[in-house]
Point group: C2
Chain length 193, copies 2
């Protein structure tokens, strides 16, 4: 029994578009994609998260994300598909991780614990069942970081309070999409079994 | 402990584009989408599935699916990104569920047990841990059906050997994308915890 269907009202997720690695392990800013917004927002809404932060320092990319979410949050789109509105209402587009942490501290009155996720094995990770227990303290905000591209830059692992165990499949293949990885980890942390 | 990291070599997944419901609960054939192919193939590969069947009776849609998968399975795409090739090599595009069942029976020497998934609560469902135990019998092939659009038509529930418990979030919102739902259920059935 993991999470036991608790709500995630003290838990936020951040999809980080910078600093992340590209295919050649260069640090880059990736592009915002429509499906990352929709799929992760729907998962975040399903598991009762506080907020879904979309983080990019590129102003044009923030504008794009705002246009996509705005389409479904207001006017015709909101009426046509209220389920999309309910999900995308959780989205907040910001320019940096610092802005996310500042907002959470303002709203909760204490700093968020930062949980970093990634596909590679590392030392000192925490398992999903252990983290699920920690999340039950609703007075403590948590922020789960997910990387786009080829994953979060190492500097983000350095500032993590926790590094979550990677999702292990049955072999050595560990190339889930960030959308799938986020869905699985939210289910492991907060899903009812 | 669910699944305990067993491989899914007797398990296939079928993404059904017909018969499924649209927004107004009319039975329709939906369009194949690029991300459904990629995301679910990557999850299927991660959890060691036998095959990922993409089912549509529309010839043009099958051609589209073949073109997308072919791009990454052969020639330039396969060299550029071998991880995509490894995932998409699991994909087989077929025109009907009957064709899927026929192929599995030919290959395994016995008919597949059909497991239907859906977002709505129904009677007589099986839980993921119970089904995970059943999947351990490697001599028995299983086929997991996922619906596009607004979900699988009721007639498919009628012919199921098992109906899997829906994914429950923390409230009444149950509008995960099919990509997220497939990832979560494969993890529940076959993931290592």
């Amino acid at each position: 029994m993991t999470g036991a269907g608790q709500d995630g009202s003290n838990v936020s997720i951040a999809l980080v578009h910078y600093p992340v690695y590209d295919k050649n392990r260069q640090v880059v800013a990736t592009a915002v994609t429509n499906l990352d917004l929709h799929d992760i927002a729907r998962a975040a809404r399903t598991f009762g998260l506080f907020r879904y932060y979309v983080v990019t320092p590129v102003a044009e990319q923030r504008d794009l994300a705002e246009r996509i979410t705005g389409h479904w949050r207001e006017g015709w789109g909101a009426t046509y598909n209220p389920k999309r509105k309910a999900a995308l209402d959780l989205v907040k587009v910001v320019n940096s991780l610092e802005a996310v942490l500042h907002e959470i501290e303002q709203l909760f009155g204490r700093p968020a614990k930062v949980v970093v996720t990634g596909a590679r094995d590392r030392g000192g990770t925490v398992s999903a069942p252990v983290l699920a227990e920690l999340l039950r303290d609703r007075t403590q905000p948590y922020l789960l970081l997910f990387g786009t591209g080829w994953g979060l830059a190492d500097e983000l692992f350095g500032r993590a309070d926790y590094i979550l165990d990677p999702i292990r499949g049955t072999g050595t293949y560990n190339h889930l999409s960030v959308r799938s990885a986020a869905a699985i980890l939210l289910d492991r942390l907060l899903g009812e079994r």
